[in-house]
Amino acid sequence: MSDLKTIVREKLTGGADAFLCLKNEEGTTLPALITDADSPELELVEVGDSRYPLGKILINLLREYPDKRFAVLVRGCDERALIELSKLEQVDLDRLVMVGMACSAEEAAACGCPRPYPGDVALGEKVEAAPGREVIEEVESLAGADRMEWWKKQFSRCIKCYGCRNICPMCFCKDCALEDPHLVEPGVIPPEFPSFHIIRALDMTGRCIDCGLCEEACPADIPLRSLYRKMQDIMEDKLEYRAGESVEEKSPLSFLGTEHDIEKLEQEERHGR
């Protein structure tokens, strides 16, 4: 198995204009875009144990440099994000080469990841992990009204930093409902319960790829991932869809299309009945 440095060099000499990966600079792990196979930066590339929203960075890079081809280091979650983003017309997979790495057993366990490896693994050894369900089980052991109280208590800590949205690889809208003063009153902390968090949870439905970056970025330790994970479970149960898995199958909740398309779909539905 080759190391990351060798792979980056191979991709850069084999057609990619740039490689988005991680490097260790003076003890800090951070994303890096390597554009030259002879770059001294190549000596610093390292997988490290910090995760960054590489998909989100790629949306901007692909948009800013429309003629360039990119290679990118992906964990299981990064791959799921890029697949779902391509279906949402945010990244062009034809201009992307994914180099997969498997998370270590410790990382997978700490993260509670449902699938801690991408489709093709070039680095590391695949391990299976059990998705973390402790929070969901705790909430489900409560009666209906107590569940609401439980979440209310969690969300009372929210400082409205927008970190969950900002770090989220699947959040890319130019106009965000969470910044609409009609929906979310400006200057109020904590934000109104449950509307603020329901807006975000609904936007994540059929879209969240369960990377957990939101929960990692939350300064108030709100168990956001479990909320979105439960939403994804419901999506799978009711609509048989899990975001980030299939490259072809789009989310049944995608309403991307012209008004005409939607009218046509509605008409077909009516005739079907």
């Binding site: 800090t28 951070l30 960054y52 929203p53 890079l61 939350c218």
Partner: protein, 140 residues
């Protein structure tokens, strides 16, 4: 038109909005500062930020940002060089202190400066001008 040269990097820095010292990574695309990410392995903030930290890149390219010192001349602010501006400050402080004593002057420090900058400011206030009128903007 030739292809734009690929240029994207993250610069580790410290949030300037308060004294906590959270670790930020500033996203630089081409010659523009385009975003902020939390530094995941930062010893203080451990990959989290508040809303100010998340938006710390925004003021850099602001049209409203002062990019040169200004001196009020005849009621109007006029751009000038640092030599002239600092001479005007020294002159104003000396005049106020001379006419009304050192406590007629106050010093306002900033969380957006380093500890060393703020140390120097209060030292200047106390040891050079002779007043304890020192306050700061970090009442967060």
């Amino acid at each position: 038109m030739a292809d734009k040269e690929l240029s994207y990097r993250l610069v580790p820095s410290t949030c300037v909005y308060c004294g906590t010292g959270c670790g930020v990574l500033l996203e630089v695309m081409g010659d523009r500062l385009t975003g902020t990410l939390p530094q995941k392995d930062h010893p203080v903030s451990k990959g989290t930020l508040c809303i100010k930290g998340w938006s710390v890149h925004e003021f850099v390219h602001s049209d409203r940002r002062l990019t040169a010192p200004m001196v009020r001349t005849g009621g109007v602010l006029v751009e000038t060089d640092w030599e002239t501006a600092l001479a005007a400050v020294a002159d104003g402080l000396a005049k106020a202190k001379g006419a009304h004593g050192p406590d007629s002057v106050g010093f306002f420090a900033s969380a957006r400066c380093t500890n060393e900058d703020n140390y120097l400011l209060q030292k200047f206030a106390r040891a050079v001008v002779g007043t304890n009128n020192v306050d700061h903007c970090a009442r967060l």
